[in-house]
């Protein structure tokens, strides 16, 4: 069972993408150093490299492409202005996640009604599936997103960072300004609520 559990989280870490790789980290550090010196092109490269994964964090918070894009923009502008505060103690992507989550929490944009654009796009993308299967998948996705959106902000942030982006409890605690114990408790309570909301959804 431990193997299964560990594999789940390991998979999440892998989903953080190649930006977490050693080579990319070295490149990120060089880009950060150049950007700190005022090189706007270097920062543009950072944006191009990380905007997609930051978008995923924001999208899961607000369930709306345009609102998520606005949050991504604000995240990177804040990152530019706060580059001197990035000490390199964590991956650049983790630092950007922290900013993104705080932008999301501050904006409280998740309170906006969720859109169903995702379902439409998934239907278009899943052309190989049968219509029935696509409908079932779209409905499941809608229920999951609405359940996550119904969580309290900090629990939602914890689920997004841990389940979807594989941040450690320590990193999440640092992001939310709480303790590791509180982060674990947040995650457990969030999962319990989600299980109730989603019932026996397979």
């Amino acid at each position: 069972m431990d193997h299964i559990s560990a594999a789940r989280w390991t998979g999440a870490a892998a989903r953080r993408g190649t930006v977490e790789g050693v080579e990319s980290e070295r490149d990120d550090r060089a880009l950060v150093a150049a950007a700190r010196a005022g090189d706007a092109d270097a920062f543009a490269e950072i944006v191009a490299r990380h905007r997609r994964v930051v978008y995923q964090v924001c999208y899961r918070f607000v369930n709306d492409p345009d609102a998520a894009a606005d949050l991504v923009q604000e995240t990177f502008v804040r990152a530019w202005r706060g580059l001197d505060r990035f000490r390199g103690g964590s991956a650049l992507s983790t630092w950007l996640f922290r900013i993104a989550i705080n932008v999301c929490l501050n904006r409280r944009a998740a309170e906006q009604p969720p859109h169903d654009v995702l379902e439409a796009q998934q239907l278009e993308d899943a052309s190989a599936e049968s219509p029935d299967r696509r409908l079932i998948r779209a409905e499941r996705a809608r229920r999951v997103r609405r359940a996550i959106a119904a969580l309290p902000d900090r629990q939602r942030a914890t689920v997004i960072l841990r389940v979807y982006h594989g941040l450690s409890h320590r990193e999440i605690a640092a992001t939310l300004g709480s303790s590791v114990g509180a982060t674990k408790a947040n995650l457990f309570h969030a999962l319990t609520k989600l299980r109730k909301m989603l019932g026996s959804e397979p």
């Binding site: 069972m1 431990d2 193997h3 299964i4 559990s5 560990a6 789940r8 989280w9 998979g11 999440a12 005022g38 706007a40 920062f43 543009a44 944006v47 191009a48 905007r51 997609r52 978008y55 995923q56 999208y59 899961r60 492409p65 345009d66 998520a68 894009a69 991504v72 923009q73 990177f76 502008v77 530019w80 202005r81 995702l118 796009q121 998934q122 993308d125 499941r140 996705a141 999951v144 997103r145 996550i148 689920v159 389940v163 979807y164 409890h169 114990g181 674990k184 408790a185 995650l187 457990f188 309570h189 999962l191 989600l194 299980r195 989603l198 959804e201 397979p202």
Partner: protein, 196 residues
């Protein structure tokens, strides 16, 4: 029999549950079922992905961020001592001082004990060195600025007029040693370029 706490359940999900509590999990069907339910839930959550954002949306993100950065950059002012508005007149002052010191140093030695003439003593000291002594020059510069008529200095482009932010005399005198060294280097380049 005590079942797993919420912390321990998360540890079990992480694969970090050890010792007696891990052994409990192995033998407790209730805890194993609960863990299996949570794992299934996580699988369900992860089955819901985020589609790739439209390329146009990402392009908009990059363009907007770039514009914000450029706006920031254009608003940002250079370090006060590097602003040309200040550096040029400040440099002119040092050039004048340097020329004055060189001229005086080439003449006969001045009496170093001339009454009330600390500046002359400073200048006389420079006679013994082939190049300007930086520390003596700065002391002389500070003394000249401090004791000169502000109107005259202002008309000469040395002292900022009243109301101009960042008075030049303070900018020059309050420079750190590193900034002074950099300014001296620039001035030496300037002097070399003009045959000074």
């Amino acid at each position: 029999m005590r079942h797993l706490t919420s912390d321990e359940m998360i540890d079990a999900l992480d694969g970090t549950l050890t010792g007696a509590r891990a052994r409990h999990l192995q033998h407790c069907a209730t805890c194993r079922d609960q863990l299996a339910d949570v794992e299934a839930l996580i699988g369900t959550l992860r089955s819901v992905g985020v589609p790739d954002p439209p390329a146009a949306l990402m392009a908009r993100v990059s363009a907007t961020v770039r514009a914000a950065i450029e706006a920031d950059t254009s608003r940002a002012r250079p370090a006060p001592w590097l602003a040309w508005r200040l550096l040029v007149p400040s440099g002119a002052l040092v050039v004048v001082v340097a020329a004055l010191v060189s001229t005086l140093a080439a003449r006969a030695p001045l009496p170093t004990t001339a009454p009330g003439s600390e500046h002359a003593a400073m200048i006389a000291d420079t006679e013994h060195t082939p190049e300007l002594d930086a520390e003596a020059s700065w002391r002389l510069l500070g003394a000249l600025v401090a004791e000169s008529d502000p109107t005259t200095l202002s008309q000469a482009g040395i002292l900022a007029p009243a109301g101009l932010a960042g008075s030049i005399d303070r900018v020059v005198i309050d420079l750190t040693p590193q900034e002074q060294a950099e300014l001296m280097r620039l001035l030496r380049e300037e002097l070399d370029g003009t045959g000074g």
